[in-house]
Structures are given as C-alpha cells and as structure tokens.
C-alpha cells in the first residue's frame, strides 16, 4: 500500500484498517452491478439503495477507528 503522502510511512494499523475499508467499499460498490448482470433486478434495486449507505458507514467507521482526517 502506498503511503498517504510521499515520504510519510503509513502505520501498520492504519494500513490494515484502510485495506479493510477498501475491500468493503469495493464490495458494496460492486454488489448492484453483480445482481443486475446476473438477472436479479429486484435484488439489484435493493443493493443499489444499500450501496451508498454501506460505503458511507464504512468510511465513517474508518474515521472512528483512525480519527477524523484534517479538513
């Protein structure tokens, strides 16, 4: 994983939390497309509503674990 800024090493715990968050964001983001492509439009619709909530909760959870980033 790349550091947050050049020459600033990312602490191992932060890297682990961010990798986990990345996985969840990609998972929530890919779910609707997966359902639509597999001929499950109703499930696709449901996951389309779940996707933004899931992504946002993941991000807010990441901030809770690592602290709010500088504005």
């Amino acid at each position: 994983m790349k550091p947050l800024l050049p020459n600033s090493p990312m602490p191992a715990r932060a890297a682990r939390v961010m990798a986990g968050a990345d996985f969840l964001i990609v998972l929530f983001g890919a779910l609707p497309a997966f359902c639509w492509l597999n001929d499950a439009p109703e499930l696709g619709l449901l996951t389309s509503f779940l996707m933004p909530c899931g992504i946002a909760l993941t991000g807010i959870g990441e901030n809770a674990l690592l602290g709010e980033p500088p504005q």
Binding site: K2, I25, P41, S48, F49, P52, A56, G59, I60
Partner: protein
C-alpha cells in the same frame, strides 16, 4: 480580478454549459453520434484557435512531447464529451444533469480508493445521500419500465471525470513538475471524440440549421466556458467553484422545461433534490472550515 467578478463569470460559465440540453432538443435531423461528432469537431476547432491565440503556435510543435498524463486525460475528456451527448439523446436533460452532478463525490471516492486520501464525515454523508438520490431515480424509472440506457451512459461522465482527476493527481504526486496546463487535454478529448464518433455518425444527416446550433454548442457552450473555468480556478477556491457549478443542473433543467417542454419526472426531482442537497451541504461545510 475581484471576487465578485470571478463569481459573476462562474455563473456565466454555468449558464453557457446549461444550454446543451435545450439546444439539442431543437435539432432537426442530426441524431445521437452525429450530434456528438459535430459538437466535438466544432469544439476542437474553437480550441485550436483559442489555444494558438493564448499559448502561441509553439504549443503545436511540442505535441509529440506532451506527457502521457495529458493524453490519458484527453481520453477521459473524450469519454465525457461523447457520453454526455449520447446520454442527452437517450434520456431527459434533467436525468443526465442530475446523474452528472454526483461527479465531485465519485471523485472523492476514487481519491479514497486509489490515492488513499481519507475523507471527512461530511463527505461520506454526502456520498450516502447523493447515492440514495441516484438510486431513487434509477429505481422509480426501472419500476415504471423506462429504459435506463440514458442514465447508465450519463454515469460514464462522472466516472470519466473521476478517473481524469485521479490520473492527474497521481501524476502530480509522482512528479511535481508534471503539474501543468491541462487545456490541451480538453483539445485532445474533443478531437478523439470527433474521430471515434465519425464512423458511427455516418451517413451525416445534419441540416444547415443543425450545423449552426452544433457550432454554437462546440464553441459557446463548451470551448469558451472551458477556457474561462481554467482561468477562474486561479481566483476561486475549489469548493466555491463546485458549489457554483451546481447551477448548471438548475439552469439546464429550467431551460429544457421552458424551451423544450421537457417536464422533469417526480422521481428525477426527488433524486435531484437529494443529490443537490448533499453537494451543497458538503461544499458549504468545506467553505465554512476554510
């Protein structure tokens, strides 16, 4: 330039951007890819003149040495130009503009995933609210049996914009000297878009009336505001530009409503309100923290 003048010019930029939908609705014979072809071609021609005037003829002698990031950015611009016009011929202007409005939030998400820029809670909340707005619009249209093709094509615009920004940020991080004038990327995009859509547009059907309107789109709706906004980026902070840019959605929907009788559906109005509220909240909080 004073702040008030910069704000006035930014509002003018959004007014110019917003005429695309209503002008497209008044075309007589040109359809789909042909509309894209002519608009991109006129845009490329207008930018050729403008860039030669602004940067001098020496700019073109260095084309072969333009950095890779500029060409990649040009491809993204080509996708944006093409997808926008194709989408507008497939669905309502309001649907396209609301879908495009999520651009800043998609960009923030891409920055988080690919550049590991952490996002504040306000941006995560805005992503959730705007995402729900788009899902609501999609869902209601899917239930009503309306084709989602136009909205899906329109989604390519904020996605390409996010890829564009991420490529540029990545390039700038690796090599600070590569942070440079990106106007030629817009020119590359217009040229590529015209080249790619020409075979799909054949045989050309546009009347003289259509060509007049498409020349207006390529120059007044696209080239002039692009040049202006690059200049204004030096005068106004990014959140303020993003906030003012939202006026394009309001103006664009209003023009299509007044000038082409295209009443937005209740689902689009609800979804659009959610998207705009999320963006305004996010940018207003960003401005307050400055």
């Amino acid at each position: 330039m004073t702040h008030a003048r910069a704000v006035f010019l930014m509002i003018l930029v959004t007014l110019l951007w917003s005429i695309a939908g209503v002008v497209t609705r008044h075309l007589e014979a040109a359809r789909s890819f042909e509309v894209t072809f002519w608009r991109s071609l006129f845009n490329a021609l207008a930018l050729t003149v403008a860039l030669t005037w602004l940067r001098g003829p020496a700019l073109w002698r260095g084309v072969a040495r333009w950095p890779r990031a500029l060409w990649l950015s040009g491809i993204c611009w080509a996708v944006m130009f093409t997808a926008f016009m194709v989408a507008i011929t497939l669905t309502t202007v309001a649907n396209v503009l609301v879908t495009m409005a999520i651009g800043p939030l998609v960009t923030a998400l891409f920055a988080r995933i690919f550049l590991h820029h952490r996002l504040p809670a306000r941006t995560w909340s805005a992503i959730a609210i705007a995402g729900l707005g788009i899902a609501w619009m999609f869902g209601r249209e899917a239930q009503a049996g309306v084709s989602l093709a136009g909205t899906l094509v329109a989604l390519a615009v904020p996605l390409a914009a996010a890829v564009n920004w991420t490529i540029l940020q990545h390039g700038n991080r690796e090599d600070a000297e590569s942070a440079q004038d990106m106007l030629p990327a817009v020119w590359i995009g217009a040229l590529l878009s015209a080249l790619v859509t020409l075979p799909l547009a054949w045989p050309l059907m546009a009347s003289a009336h259509d060509l007049g309107l498409l020349a207006l789109l390529g120059s007044v709706q696209l080239a002039i505001p692009c040049l202006l906004v690059v200049r204004l980026a030096r005068e106004l902070p990014a959140p303020e530009i993003a906030l003012l840019a939202l006026l394009e959605v309001v103006f664009g929907v209003a023009w299509a409503w007044i000038g082409a009788g295209e009443t937005p559906s209740p689902a689009t109005l609800t979804g659009g309100t959610l998207v705009l509220a999320a963006l305004v909240g996010n940018e207003a909080l960003a401005l307050r923290r400055r």
